[in-house]
Symmetry: C2
Subunit: 153 residues, 2 copies
């Protein structure tokens, strides 16, 4: 299909990028969720980090932050993206509950972990250094040390 | 000064936005650094959160994530922004060192804290709920509980 036709179909280039990203993320989350069937909270966070910090999936992180940057000033056009960004948090929340966390704890832990992993991916994207990877490793280890996320961070 | 003249001077609207944001951030960091003279690592993270989650400073967060979104695909044009985003991390690092952390620990703790606060601000921007504020409070409390950042998270 010609690019101009695709753009016409999706209304705009950001619209096209969003559709591609949403579909990629839907499949990514399925892969990660499948991994999560066997993992605790901390290990799942590790799997999420490994997945998105893999150069093979760099396009996801690029597209994600680009769309987020547009969504800031065009919230209506990107409502679907905004709703979608909670997908990963819900995945982590379910695992934290399975690990024995209370509902409130599971929610907060998953918001914190998603925010931290997202912030680290952003840092890695803009200013990639070994220190960012070391920080991510440390963050994930600290989750494991606190009992897989069932206590405090 | 007329907006068109400003745009001419700064080369582009993103260039103008960047210049305005850099100057605002420079001053913000001075305010936060001054607060930090009396605070430990965890309390300083709390001050950073309070500053940027304040509706009065919402424009900073908006402009920051918008520019980041552009920088993803135009890295050269936004090199200065990319360099600048490490300013807050360095501020936190200095306080972690003063709190007694080793150089490597101080670096990692400050990368993690910056990433997490940035991710939480992004979450709050796109999908503002009381749960995000509760998660931020919990994250900052967990830093304090671990000895102001001198041990693990």
């Amino acid at each position: 299909m010609h690019h101009t036709l695709l753009t016409y179909h999706f209304g705009s280039r950001p619209g096209l990028l969003r559709a591609v990203l949403l579909e990629a993320r839907r499949r990514d989350n399925l892969v990660i969720a499948e991994t999560g069937d066997e993992l605790g909270f901390a290990a799942l966070c590790g799997a999420v980090w490994n997945f998105y910090s893999d150069p093979a999936h760099e396009d996801r992180t690029h597209a994600f932050f680009h769309l987020v940057g547009l969504a800031v000033y065009e919230r209506d056009a990107f409502q679907e993206l905004v709703v979608d960004i909670d997908g990963l948090t819900h995945l982590l929340e379910a695992v934290a509950l399975r690990d024995g966390a209370t509902a409130a704890d599971a929610r907060r832990q998953s918001i914190i972990a998603t925010a931290c992993l997202r912030g680290l991916l952003l840092q890695r994207l803009l200013s990639p250094t070994a220190e960012v990877d070391a920080a991510a490793e440390r963050f994930i280890t600290s989750l494991a040390a606190s009992g897989g996320g069932s206590h405090t961070l």
